[in-house]
Amino acid sequence: MTVCLQEPPFDVGLEISRMTAERKDVGAVASFIGIAREDNPDEGAEPVIAMTLEHYPGMTENQLLEIELEARKRWQLIDCLIIHRYGRFIPGDPIVLVVTLSSHRKAAFEACEFLMDYLKTQAPFWKREETETGERWVAARQTDNDAASRWATKT
């Protein structure tokens, strides 16, 4: 069970190999990779040249650990990993990786989605985008809040 907050890129294959090495109880691995995008129609028509992710050192790690703990309470997970990067990114750069391991696929799929939905609303990160005309802070999206709140009634 690992939470990493880091600037450098991650190697998805290596991370998954590490998690599954020498194990015979894993039947399912689900992963999600979030990537910096060039277009953000919510904020404007100009393409995004780069994006900077700022975070709240200390609180970010604690929130990620709490989110991970909550996922482990709700699903039978063999292992899980959250890597979230911070710093400056260009479109195409991977930003976040979530990997979940379980015996059967349902737990791995659901926990992976839950972790991402919760992370988007509970982890103190902020995105600032650079375009040709200037910089802008990305506004929070209601659809992200809705995605997180649908887990509230599920156990």
Partner: protein, 83 residues
Amino acid sequence: MKILYFAWVRQKIGYAEEINTPPLNVKTAEQLIDWLIGLSEGHAEAFANRSTIRIAIDQQFAEPNDSIVKAVEVAFFPPVTGG
């Protein structure tokens, strides 16, 4: 008390943190904002629309009515946009 600002709240105020001792009648996060907006134009601008401000007390998400009396660190920031 350490007061931290992030994202555009930080940009509007002009710095990321300050050590400050609010008066004893400042007991909640909301009252702390009331007091902070008197400190500078930047503070007033940052807190102009309070519905867009999120609060953390000692690194836990908090509500405007929550007590800051025993807080070591209070942070103000916009809704989060990670992932």
